[in-house]
């Protein structure tokens, strides 16, 4: 990650400075608005819980990106840091009674201490070996949480009571609103801190270690020390994320260190995009959408998530953020009118094929799991047509095929329009070493 942009001709300095300032500020404003405004418009507990989960995931994914995006370290056991940090925070809260406002900091320090220990072990190797080591360590912590007595409070986990801590002004943090305000506030604080960290020379050196470890060693850095340092920083923020989750549900259990959680943050970060700072934020929003919103409608949500993940990795490995960047650059270069055709056809094809996939998947899940899914489908407004489709597989198959075929037509036009655009681009710009 760097503050440089693609090597298209730089725009005139005087016009670009305020524009790029606003462009840089926009994601921050969007984040603040999304976290702060909805609770006032729809003051309902499910929305607060959803936003709290999103905020927690945002911090978690950003901490993960310190490892993956900035230093090139793929970790399969990141939940160990967040869960253990939350455990430390819970035990400290219950025994010592730290004010709830400062509890995320305690969790962060707990996570960082685990980061020192695990980082020392896991950074003895790099690359693929590092990933496997984190897998082993993550499994160790997850298995130990089930096996070893009492340190994780047994099967019930360690619970806290938010309201039992010292009050902050008139707030006791018992009500969900107050807890959410604390969580959202800490989320923003952590985001700002990680953004500042990502601008430091230390992170540039971590980027150098990511890009070319041999050369990094040749210019005077010890790659292992840098990697250890990043693991500790990442574990600190993961501990904060874990504590935010603790504050939200008032419980830390074996689920907090599970491999499912580690996998979830990996999926969120990759979907969002690792090359842009706000990529993981988008990925966290997408993951929470799937795991809460879609999950409340159908039990097939993990399937859709997995499918979406694979699509992102194959079609746009730099994630949603990278996809957005590339295409907004293209629209800026060619103008909206010329690009319009390609994008509209593309969207039409995507919608049709998505409909075909959803129908197939929902039918398959209904066939296997019967009752539950039937309720979900039938309950959404009593769609008679859907019920008929479910009843007759042949009709369903026909519908799916028709949708797939229909989707092929706009796809064909979209590809043609893309080719036109590409041809126009290569004829318009002289061959002065265009980027990539």
């Amino acid at each position: 990650m760097s503050d440089a942009h693609e090597s298209s001709a730089p725009p005139a300095p005087s016009a670009s400075a305020p524009r790029s300032f606003w462009r840089g500020l926009a994601p921050w404003l969007a984040l603040i608005l999304c976290l702060a405004v909805p609770p006032f418009i729809w003051p309902q507990s499910w929305l607060l819980a959803y936003l709290a989960q999103t905020a927690t995931m945002i911090v978690f994914a950003l901490s993960y990106n310190l490892l993956l995006g900035e230093t090139g370290l793929l970790s399969f056991g990141h939940a160990a840091f967040s869960g253990l940090g939350a455990l430390v925070a819970a035990q400290v809260f219950n025994r010592v009674g730290v004010p709830l406002v400062l509890l995320p900091l305690v969790g962060g320090i707990g996570g960082a201490l685990c980061g020192v220990l695990f980082g020392f072990i896991s950074t003895r190797r790099a690359g693929t070996a590092f990933a496997m080591i984190t897998l082993g360590l993550g499994e160790l912590v997850a298995a130990a949480a089930w096996t070893l007595p009492d340190w994780f409070g047994g099967e019930a986990g360690v619970a806290i009571d938010r309201a039992s801590g010292a009050p902050w002004g008139s707030w006791s943090f018992g009500p969900a609103r107050e807890a959410y305000a604390l969580i959202a506030g800490w989320c923003l604080l952590a985001c700002v801190a990680m953004f500042a960290l990502s601008r430091t020379p230390f992170m540039r050196v971590a980027n150098a270690v990511r890009d070319n470890p041999v050369r990094a060693a040749a210019i005077g850095c010890y790659p292992r020390r840098i990697r250890c340092g990043v693991v500790v920083a990442s574990a600190f923020f993961a501990g904060i994320a874990g504590t935010l989750a603790l504050i939200n549900v008032e419980l830390v259990s074996t689920e907090s260190v599970s491999m499912v959680r580690s996998g979830a943050v990996l999926i969120a970060t990759v979907i969002g995009g690792t090359a842009v700072f706000f990529g993981p934020v988008a990925g966290a929003a997408v993951l929470t959408f799937f795991s809460v919103a879609v999950a409340s409608v159908t039990r097939a949500w993990p399937f859709y998530l997995g499918l979406f993940f694979i699509m992102v990795v194959v079609i746009s490995p730099d994630g949603l953020a990278g996809f957005a960047q590339r295409h907004s650059a293209r629209v800026a270069a060619h103008g909206w009118r010329r690009c319009r055709a390609a994008y509209l056809w593309g969207m039409a094809a995507a919608l049709l094929w998505t409909a075909a996939i959803v129908l197939t998947v929902q039918w398959a899940y209904a066939a296997q799991f019967g009752v539950d899914d039937g309720a979900a489908l039938g309950g959404t407004g009593g769609m008679g047509a859907l019920r008929w489709l479910r009843a007759s597989p042949l009709g369903l198959g026909g519908a799916v095929l028709m949708l797939a075929a229909l989707g092929g037509l706009p796809a064909h036009y979209a590809i043609r329009a893309q080719a036109l655009l590409a041809a126009r681009r290569s004829s318009a710009s002289p061959a002065t070493g265009d980027a990539r």
Binding site: S2, R215, A218, G220
Partner: protein, 250 residues
């Protein structure tokens, strides 16, 4: 006078293949020393050993009298020895300026304070800007290093080696892949930027070698067969037979 870089009886074996069979070399401070020889003679291996990327099976390497034989590459760099690479090795996803800033931050002889890794340092930035000018890449300051042209990347590679303020430089085939004009420019650049520093250079381009070198050593089959001034090397019969060929020079 203590040589800037001294090798005593350095040997290296890969499996059963003996690549270096006892290399003795001395480079004086401020000298521009070229290392030539046929392919497979062991030149890149020797560079790797000096810079700490591998360990010799026997022998000793000294930097200004202090032994550096078994040190890690980072430790050697911090003592003031920097290298460039035969196949261009830059940090592709960092900007040109950040490439130089990292090199300047890490290898400064008067060590930067640790907190400057987080707060930034004006001296480091100034040094990086100075090297940026010296290698002629000021116009490409914010460009990602991976998108530079080949010649620009070679210049950046040299800049990274220079940015740390090293007093001794190892340059591995700096004009590889360049045509005559580019190579001449590259040699000029090297001559300007390494004024006053010690330089050990591996090269195949004989014009470049004879243009810049004060002394030349010839490495053939893992041994130095001759070492001296360019004129002496040109006239040496053994060198002619092994490498230069009869039709070269006088």
């Amino acid at each position: 006078m203590i040589p800037a870089l001294a090798l005593y009886g350095v040997e290296k074996r890969f499996g059963s293949t003996q690549v270096l069979r006892g290399v003795d070399l001395a480079v004086q401070p401020g000298e521009r020393h070229a290392l030539i020889g046929p392919n497979g003679a062991g030149k890149s291996t020797l560079f790797n050993l000096i810079a700490g990327g591998a360990r010799p099976n026997a022998g000793r390497i000294d930097l200004f009298g202090a032994e550096i034989t078994r040190l890690a590459p980072a430790a050697i760099t911090r003592r003031g020895l920097a290298r460039s690479f035969q196949s261009t090795s830059v940090f592709a996803r960092l900007s040109v300026f950040d490439n130089l800033r990292c090199a300047a931050l890490l290898a400064e002889r008067d060590r930067t304070r640790w907190w400057q890794r987080f707060s930034g340092s004006r001296t480091v930035d100034a040094r990086a800007a100075q090297v940026l000018d010296a290698v002629g890449l000021s116009a490409r300051r914010q460009v990602l290093a991976g998108t530079l042209s080949y010649a620009e990347q070679r210049a950046l590679d040299l800049g990274i080696a220079l940015a740390g303020g090293a007093h001794t430089l190892l340059l591995d085939e700096p004009t590889a892949g360049m045509n005559r004009a580019e190579a001449a420019r590259a040699i000029e650049l090297i001559r300007e930027t390494t004024a006053g520093r010690t330089l050990l250079m591996v090269e195949h381009d004989m014009d470049a070698v004879f243009a810049i070198a004060d002394r030349i050593s010839v490495l053939v089959q893992g041994r130095i067969i001759a070492s001296g001034t360019p004129a002496a090397i040109r006239a040496d019969a053994a060198v002619r037979a092994a490498y230069l060929g009869e039709g070269f020079g006088t």
